[in-house]
Structures are given as C-alpha cells and as structure tokens.
Symmetry: C2
C-alpha cells in the first residue's frame, strides 16, 4: 500500500483523470444551450488573459445532488466532503449492447466489492462516443431503475457513468435518478474512463464539485489514485 | 500514517475544505461582473431543478495557470494532475499587519518544509473578511515579489492564499504572479482556511480545477486530508 506521505512518488499510471474535457460547445443534453467559454481579455492587450464560463450545473462531468429532483432538498454544498472520496469499483460494461439497460445481473458479479461506502463507476465505453450525434444522445447504455435501487440498497457512496444521462433519454431516467438521490447517493454523469482503470486492483476516487451554494449539482473534477495493491 | 485504504475512516477532523463558498454576487475583483447563478428551471414545475453559472475563470477559489500572463502558454488543462496534489505547508500569517507585504523573512522559519513538491498555503486570515468592502479589496496582506521569487527557487508545486489577489491591488501584483507562473508554479487565490489547519502536523492538499480546455485558470475545489502524523 502506498501511504499518503508517498504522494510525491505518484507517477502518471498511479493517478488518472476521469473527467471529460470542458470546452465551448462541448456535447451535452440538447434541452439547454451547451457550455460557452468566451475570451474576456487577452494578456497581449490587457496584461492578463481571462475567460468567461457560462454553463448549467449539469454539463460536462458533473455531480447531481438530491435537490435535482422534486421532493429532496439536499444541495451540492450539503454533501459532506468525506462522501466525495471512496474506494472505486469499476464495472466493465464495455461490451454492453447500445441502447440496452444495465440490469442487476450485470452488477452481481461485483457484489463483493459493491459495499457500503464504495463508489461504483459504470464503464460503458460511451465516453469515447461523446459527439453531437443521435447515437450518443439517444442510444446509449443506461442504468435500469431496479439496478439503481439495488445499488442504493447496498449503501454505496456514489455512482458514476461515462454518459451524460445515467438513466438514458427515455421515461425511466427519472426513476433511475430517484432511487439513488432519495438515499442521498450522488450521481456523476459524463465521466471519461481510460482503459487503465482496469490495470490495477484498487483505485480511490476523489470527486470534487465546485463549492456552489444551494444548487442542484455542479461541474466536477474526478481523479482516481491507485494504491498498487496488485 | 493512514493508508489510502483507510479512507472509509476519514472523520470530519481529518478532511477539511479550503474553498470559499461560490454563490451569486459573491465578492470578487471589481474589474468584472461578479459570479451569477440563475435558476433555469425548478423541479416542482419541470421535474428537474437546474441552474446556470456565469463567471470568469478567476473568481471564487480558483487556480491561475501560466497562460494568465503574457509570455506563457501553459493552460489550465496542461498542468499535470499529479501537480495538483502535494504536502501542504501552512504558513501562519494571521497576525500580519493589514496592507503590508509578506517578505522572505516571514517565510524563512518554514524553510525545512518549503521544499521541492510542497504546496505553500499562506494563511493571512483575510478569508474571513471576504465582503464587498474597501478593506477586503484594497488593504489585504499580500506576497512581495521577492518572496514570490524565493518560493519559486525552492521549486514548490503551488502557492495558495486566502485573498482574491496574491500580489494585492498595487503595481507589484503582476510581478508577484510572474515569479511563480514563469516557473510553472500554479497559484490559488481566494481560499478559505479554518483554524483547524494548524491542528495537525501534516496535511495533503488536493487542488482540482475544472477540466477546462485552453483557459488561463479555473474555479477550483481545494481539500486537505490529514494523515495524523501528530
């Protein structure tokens, strides 16, 4: 096990970024304008370069708080920071058929790792298809609501997926969200998983939203650090 | 030493937030409009609550990349993620007189800890004065450019301060930034330090900006985790 004190020794294969790049007009759900990044001033003319960001709280790699859905009031700043760190369980769903739901049977072989306090990361491979296409928007792999309830019962800390909507674009989406959010389990959507997540046995996940006050979610940076138990 | 595997055991006194709350009209430098948070839709009427964020890349607790200044091209997404983690050195400057610069002599007693790879956190106490006041904006404690150069020579990984401008509001500000940024050392401004940062001997800092592409900075969440070496 690597101790915190050995952080100076972290090599690129011990720390990986699980976040999608955030840029002007990057793909996102069509209901709202995509993120806008505007150059406000440049250093050549003004001494300092500075940009403006305009986006929603649910674009790019982002965390949903329970307040995203009617009936729940916990906002993003009310999620305790110790809940943003946990042991990661990467579920390999890269061969899952397009457009089909992730069911309980797809998760069961990870039962020994999906335990209270763990962070479950659904690796569908759809993070590589992140373009303005009908395929990416409307035909992704998604999490069925009964599988969502199964995860909630196991008291996981959070659930992440490499697509912008964990419940897809159909009518079941709200229920898939509800099963997790009602239990105070955060959701991160629009993650990106390099194949290297499968190279080590143990990864710890650090998922930090912005310290936004009173909002239903936030763009989020997600990092995994391996402790080399292999 | 606590190992990564013991993360489930993190208690509130082992993990602390070093970020200022980010909210509509929160105090920031006057040159640009303050952050705006707008409710786009609410769950009661629309099923889902969702907000819009409009802010610059240098408001709230935020990280400066070298590209912030003329002459340097490293953008926020080009800072390697392993550079965002390091051993924290909290420099106690809470008794430093208002309006006066932090000089090399104020840092020298921390020489044994300010070493290559460390993250230096200047604790001025001005994070508690974060209001729209002329005191906060124009009369803060700030880092002199020769002290900035001293830190750069020691090859620290990054420097943070609990005020919105590390070099204050005078003419020396640019040079204070330049001494660090020219060496590829990031700066985090507008941090918040609870007094508990002084309760343990060793803290590790996790400073995660958003994965913005090509920008000069980013809002940033900064967390400290103690390994209880005490």
């Amino acid at each position: 096990m690597v101790e915190y004190g050995d952080h100076e020794m972290l090599t690129p294969d011990q720390i990986i970024d699980l976040s999608q790049p955030l840029y002007h007009n990057c793909p996102s759900i069509t209901f709202h304008s995509p993120p806008e990044i505007r150059l406000l001033q440049n250093a050549a003319e003004n001494g300092w370069t500075l940009e403006e960001i305009k986006m929603t709280t649910h674009q790019g790699t982002h965390m949903d708080a329970p307040y995203h859905l009617d009936g729940y009031t916990q906002t993003i700043d009310q999620i305790p920071i110790d809940q943003m760190i946990g042991r990661g369980v990467f579920v390999d769903l890269r061969d899952h058929p397009a457009g089909s739901p992730i069911k309980i049977r797809d998760l069961e072989s990870y039962s020994s790792q999906i335990i209270p306090g763990s962070i479950v990361l659904l690796v569908t491979g759809w993070g590589r298809k992140r373009f303005w296409t009908s395929e990416w928007l409307f035909n992704s792999v998604w999490l069925a609501s009964d599988a969502s309830e199964w995860l909630a019962q196991r008291q996981v800390r959070g659930v992440g997926i490499d697509h912008v909507s964990i419940g897809g674009m159909g009518t079941e989406n709200e229920e898939t969200h509800r099963k997790l959010l009602k239990s105070g389990i955060w959701i991160i959507e629009d993650m990106y998983y390099p194949d290297s997540v499968f190279e080590h046995k143990e990864w710890f996940i650090f998922a930090f939203p912005l310290p936004l006050q009173g909002t239903s979610g936030s763009p989020c940076r997600v990092i995994a650090i391996s402790n080399f138990v292999n």
